[in-house]
């Protein structure tokens, strides 16, 4: 990619810029920027360019296969799909889990929260924060971090490994594990395994606190940027339990931009509350709150969504950070998109603290792992908070247990509108003249997307891929030039 993109088409009065693929995000996407006649930005869009059809091709399959099939939606957060699917199956057979099974599932989930948030921060986003948005793209990546900040890179690798090892212990594989089954789990944890993780925890905690300090320093040193960068004022959605942050099992709470609770509802009511709007230029639908309508009812999810939706966090270190984060906001709510990074690390800290609580809980060492039932309800809904936000699985089955309808709403989908808005804002700010677009401007647009850490492989369960392409089109829609990555 050249540093400057010349608009060679002098006969045209306006144009479009394309960035493809968007990199250092977990999925496939591209951005197109539509310019006006004077070379300023008219609009910008993020397109998700893949579709795979999970909701459709699983029809006719036995519902019990879903915890194994649906994780293949996403290799970054397969545990989320595994658990959401298992919870939908629990609802179909109509059982409540034993405390041991419930807590072992949560333990695996916390392993994933830690590994996935570490990946997002250290491997994917930290190059922008450490080197700056305008740094050389050849070194602005995890390899560059390894060269320039070897200690930090090692911490990131160790934290991710810790979470992945917990997943592997319970589910036999780090990616696409198999542990949850309808009505419970298929394996207990051994005392020796528990002791290993308890021994490793202090180092993980210390590493996470270093990362938290790094992000706080960055936000303090770049206050003006943090306040203006792709900031949008939206409602927020997340699971809560007794008002506290909850990632595995709770009720859904939607709060207004001012922090008022608009509605708190049980997960199985989701379809009456949430709709998904379709447009023809992206394979990713736009979820919105039906009570307000589209697009005004577009809300945000994920780390920032959850810390805005909850009243408090039930573990001490994360709670203290939550209080610090809220000082940056407008009353109780923080709308600044760059604070996603901070919220993400607060959650990673919560995940590590929660792992410690769970490992010290006698229930986790139990062996009463499954409750079976041969009754079949007609449908089941399973909801978990995936690292990137609320994940919903909803299956309807016939009398033999074959899927007749499946509906998945994935975390990144909820943020679709906000990502598009943020990309457009940054484009308008950094592209004033379509004749000269800097690589740094394009990278800033990509970083908006990275803030949300979108899992576009999830998003494209229906379709599904995101390389970033920024394409520049003229006012007649003619393709002028693109910055393209394959």
């Amino acid at each position: 990619m050249t540093d400057m993109i010349e608009n060679k088409n002098k006969t045209k009065t306006s144009s479009t810029i394309v960035v493809n693929p968007v990199t250092r995000i977990e999925g496939h996407g591209k951005i197109t920027v539509q310019l006006k006649e004077d070379g300023s930005v008219d609009s910008a869009r993020m397109h998700v360019t893949q579709f795979r059809g999970f909701e459709i091709f699983t029809k006719g399959r036995d519902f019990r296969e879903m915890p194994v099939i649906t994780p293949r939606t996403c290799g970054i957060c397969p545990v989320s799909h595994h658990l959401a699917a298992a919870k939908a199956c629990d609802a179909i057979i109509g059982v409540k889990l034993t405390p041991s099974a419930h807590k072992l599932r949560e333990l695996m989930h916390m392993g994933q929260i830690v590994q996935s948030h570490a990946l997002s921060f250290f491997h994917l986003s930290s190059p922008d924060l450490l080197f700056g948005f305008d740094a050389d793209p050849a070194t602005r990546n995890i390899v560059g971090v390894v060269d320039a900040y070897p200690e930090l890179a090692k911490i990131g690798i160790a934290i991710r490994k810790f979470g992945q090892e917990i997943i592997k212990t319970l589910g036999d594989k780090k990616i696409h594990p198999w542990h949850s089954i309808p009505g419970g789990v298929n394996r207990a944890i051994k005392a020796t395994e528990r002791d290993t993780y308890l021994r490793e925890l202090p180092e993980v905690m210390a590493g996470l606190q270093k990362a938290v300090a790094l992000v706080k320093n960055y936000l303090d040193a770049n206050q003006a940027l943090a306040r203006e960068f792709a900031t949008v004022t939206t409602p927020y959605l997340g699971l809560v339990k007794n008002g506290a942050l909850e990632l595995y099992d709770g009720d859904l709470r939607l709060v207004s931009p001012k922090g008022r609770v608009i509605e708190e509802f049980a997960c199985q009511e989701y379809a009456q509350k949430i709709g998904e709007f379709v447009v023809d230029w992206t394979y990713l639908k736009f979820p919105f709150y039906r009570g307000i309508g589209f697009p005004e009812g577009s809300y945000r999810v994920g780390p920032l969504g959850r810390v805005n939706a909850c009243d408090k966090i039930a573990t001490p270190l994360a709670q203290k950070e939550l209080e610090d984060l809220r000082e940056a906001g407008d009353g109780r709510i923080v709308h600044y998109t760059l604070y996603y990074h901070y919220a993400r690390l607060i959650e990673a800290l919560y995940g590590a603290e929660r792992i410690e609580e769970l490992l010290n809980d006698p229930d986790v060492m139990g062996s009463d792992l499954r409750i079976t039932s041969n009754a079949l309800n007609k449908e089941g809904v399973g909801v978990v908070e995936a690292p990137r936000g609320t994940l919903i699985h909803h299956y309807e089955v016939d009398e033999r247990g074959s899927i007749t309808r499946a509906n998945l709403i994935v975390a990144t989908g909820h943020n679709n509108w906000a990502i598009n808005k943020g990309v457009e804002q940054v484009a308008k700010q950094y592209i004033t003249d379509g004749k000269t677009v800097t690589e740094g401007a394009l990278n800033r647009m990509e970083h908006v997307i990275r803030c949300y850490d979108p899992c576009l492989s999830c998003s494209t369960h229906a379709v599904g891929k995101m390389p970033l392409e920024v394409e520049i089109l003229d006012d007649s829609g003619q393709h002028l030039t693109s910055v393209f990555k394959e």
Binding site: T23, L124, E486
Partner: protein, 191 residues
């Protein structure tokens, strides 16, 4: 990455086609072994770095099968740019889970996803890529999802859903030692 004073390292590029990213995540699961690998190999264009155009490379890696026009184009482009092409993971090797859609017509698949699900709100009945080509910003689906070698020649096959980090490390080390890797029996997984 490579400083001018050092001898040139072999270059690697990877792409992610019709897949879930799990194979790339498994690559990152090499953990501390990544630090060693980065010393020996120059990482160019990948989903985890920012170089947008694939340069001439020694090793090209494809995660994922072929499901749409864009993926087909990318696979052909990488094949032209690399000396050794690796099909990495079940989707690239066999087509993988994507092929479950092959029993359904593309138009039925899209109609259902964008009009029939319980939460879909589609007042005008638009379907992404339901219109004539070229469509606005999204590529057309191929009639069926398929493995990579239906379109380009593959040199090395590494199955697994995903292949685990040990297997990936083994494959890279063999190539760096100048051998075409044959994945040993105990590392072969088909899941």
């Amino acid at each position: 990455m490579t400083k001018s004073t050092e001898p040139a390292k072999p270059k690697m590029a990877s792409v992610w086609l019709e897949a879930c990213a799990g194979c790339h995540m498994s690559f990152l699961d090499m953990d501390e072994r990544l630090l060693e690998l980065f010393k020996k190999v120059e990482i160019t264009s990948t989903p985890i770095s920012d170089i947008k155009e694939i340069p001439e490379v020694t090793v090209g890696v494809i995660e994922g099968g072929l499901g749409n026009e864009e993926e087909l184009h990318i696979a052909k482009n990488l094949r032209e740019k690399c000396k050794i092409l690796i099909a990495w993971g079940d989707c690239a090797v066999f087509g993988g889970i994507n092929c479950l859609r092959n029993f359904i017509k593309v138009e039925d698949l899209l109609r259902e996803a964008y009009t029939d699900t319980v939460t879909t709100v589609n007042p005008t009945g638009v379907i992404p890529h339901g219109g004539p080509l070229p469509h606005d910003g999204v590529p057309a689906l191929l009639p069926q999802a398929m493995p990579v070698d239906r379109a380009v020649k593959v040199d090395i096959y590494v199955p697994g859903c995903p292949p685990d980090a040990d297997t990936i490390a083994f494959v890279f080390n063999e190539i760096l030692d100048g051998r075409i890797p044959k994945v040993p029996q105990e590392m072969m997984r088909y899941d």
